[in-house]
């Protein structure tokens, strides 16, 4: 087993599987900032691209398959399209590797259950890259909320929308044979994870999207919570929305731009202020580095990661329930207006 030969104080030998946009822009450069890991290999079915990135980032090995390097590593980041993540995770656990899995962690909750069971059986770490949990402004405001200083949540409004432009190499988010859902599954999952992380499971929901039997590009989601709070989430990959989170509480108000990492607006006890929670220059590489460090320490110290597989699975279950409700709709005789949810 790899961890048998891995010394406790030595860095984890890491492979990144899938060399698409997120690896190139975040995971690979982040690995160089984390003392607890050493990036040993890049894996991609497109070997030419993997070799180019390996040369660019001084990674010693580029291979086309995980099995070509799994005897020489301790952990993997799975940054492939989601339809192959569960298979790769199961293979990794069988070889004694720790797994940091990109979100969504799998295409179905059944696959998530298998991955979690397999990690437990192998006594290995399974973490999910819900990156936004590492944004310091969210963590700060959540601590305030959990301390009770903000009081009960009254309402949350989240808007997320831009015309699709993610520089994906496989374009899997638009391919019905690779993903079970569209914008909610691929882009909205961050906001759903935030809602669950702050407020837990809702009591009921109302969901609409613009799917005509394929992958939705616009959604409206309303979540109702036990104590009367209500969350509205509007999401689009066809139009520009405010890209903002606004939360009204009994005793205060919190708001931040969706992609802002450090700043937030806070109203508490009748006073409003603009806060910058952390002075470190934050960017996505830094966020990915914090996430990777947490994963590595969880593996080395045998403690849960900040986002364990169990929590990654919850969001997949939530999404499945929304899609199930959407699938039960009566089809209108005439094709609905483009993009307008129904």
């Amino acid at each position: 087993m790899n961890s048998d030969i891995h010394a406790k104080d030595a860095p984890l030998r890491l492979a990144i599987v899938g060399c698409g946009a997120i690896s190139e822009q975040a995971h690979i450069p982040a690995a160089a900032r984390v003392d607890e890991v050493r990036l040993a290999a890049l894996v991609d079915t497109d070997m030419t691209h993997a070799k180019v990135l390996a040369a660019q980032f001084n990674v010693p090995t580029a291979v086309s398959s995980l099995q070509d390097c799994w005897d020489d590593i301790d952990a993997v980041i799975l940054a492939t399209p989601p339809h192959v993540r569960s298979k790769l995770a199961l293979q990794s656990f069988s070889k004694g590797l720790h797994v940091l899995c990109e979100k969504p962690m799998a295409n179905s909750s059944a696959e998530c259950v298998e991955m979690i069971a397999s990690a437990r059986m192998a006594k290995r770490t399974l973490a999910v890259a819900h990156t936004y949990r590492f944004f310091p402004n969210r963590a700060y405001a959540r601590t305030l909320y959990k301390s009770g200083r903000l009081g009960r949540m009254i309402s949350v409004h989240i808007e997320q929308g831009d015309p699709f432009g993610w520089p994906t190499r496989t374009l899997y988010t638009l391919r019905q044979n690779m993903v079970p859902g569209g914008v909610l599954f691929n882009e909205g999952i961050h906001a759903l994870d935030l809602l669950w992380w702050w407020f837990g499971a809702p009591e009921s929901f109302d969901y609409q999207d613009d799917s005509l039997g394929g992958l939705e590009s616009n959604t409206h989601l309303t979540l109702k919570y036990k104590e009367g709070g209500i969350a509205h989430f509007r999401l689009s990959r066809t139009c520009s929305l405010k890209n903002k989170v606004a939360m009204q509480f009994e005793k205060g108000f919190v708001a931040f731009p969706l992609y802002e990492m450090a700043g937030l607006t806070l109203e508490l006890n009748g006073q409003s202020k603009q806060l910058v929670v952390h002075t470190t220059p934050w960017d996505y590489v830094e966020i990915a580095a914090r996430q990777l460090q947490d994963f590595a320490l969880a593996a080395i110290q045998d403690r849960p990661a900040i986002v364990p597989g169990e929590e990654g699975a919850i969001v997949i279950e939530m999404i499945e329930s929304y899609y199930k409700k959407a699938a039960q709709r009566v089809r209108p005789a005439r094709t609905p207006l483009p993009g307008v949810t129904w």
Binding site: Q176, S211, G213, G214, L215, N218, T238, L337, P338
Partner: protein
Amino acid sequence: MVNYAGVHVLVTGATGFIGARLAERLAFEEKASVRALVRDMRKSVWLSRSPMELVVGDVTEKLSLEKAVAGCDIVFHCVGVGGSSETCQAVNTEGTRNVLEAAQAAGVKRLVYLSSVAVYGPSLPDHADETAPSLRTGASYGDSKVEAEELISRFVLDHSMTVIVLQPTFVWGPRSEWFTVDPIRQMAKGAWQLVDEGQGTCHAVYVDNLVDAIMLAGLRPSLKSGEKFLVTDDQPCTWGEFWLPHARMVGKSSLPSFPSTRTTKHPIRLLHRWLWKFRDWLGDHCPDSGPFRYVVLAPRFVIRKGTALLRVETIYSDWDLIKYARRYHLDIAKAKTYLGYNPKVSRADGMQEIERWLRDQRIIS
């Protein structure tokens, strides 16, 4: 109506305004087996909402077309681009040749080609129909469509595949950049103008009415190969009646007007152009700093302010001025008789759908 259930179709230009609506209606309403030819997958966020096969390809690449047409019964050729004459020629004319040849070779039964009323030039005679002569005007888009139609006329003489040509007028509806989104944005900025107080005739066609015609052309029996059909909404209106409801969506009760007589050859516009050329010349050849800078800056300022008083700034080309000023009636009896075309969406209903869509997509608030 026609029955597309289980029919295998290919839609080219499927990420475009008309092609996307056709493809999603064929898949959702008609339950056809739809394959969509997509040049840039990033633009398929509308198409990916429907159960259809997305195939990456380009009408200028024959190999990609061979794969795309394989196994198809009907091809809807909706590709059409504007731009330089080279681009229009390569995509609109030669692309059509490639699609015709690939479809014929693959045993496709029928091809519906989406041409344009632009083949008749900007000045169609009153009560014109499909017998009007097509006209090369020097405009790259229109000329490339004329050439594509000529190519089809020659093609049908010695090929078995049935080819039907549709000539829509100006297509409007949700998702149209040219005829909905851009005008709305211009109106919000106060830049959109009527021509001659909006008294010219508007023969527009709502996208779902056009899609009805396209679907009829695909399966209607006994259509003669090479036949052309003009397609427009049932009743024309004035451009004022067409644009003012749009203006009201952005809170404007009226729109400024520009006289159609002020073409680029009008003496006042010629004067305007020469004054601005002189202004540019001053900027290029005389220093605008140092003690004598006001000798340069003052005339430039005077020209800028003075020419504004001439009120000849317009968003329209000479073609547009003719298009928006002419008063005429188009005859679509042929489409009604032979295709069974019956435009169902009224102008008022179309306006409501546009407004709902614009609000949903936050283009208007």
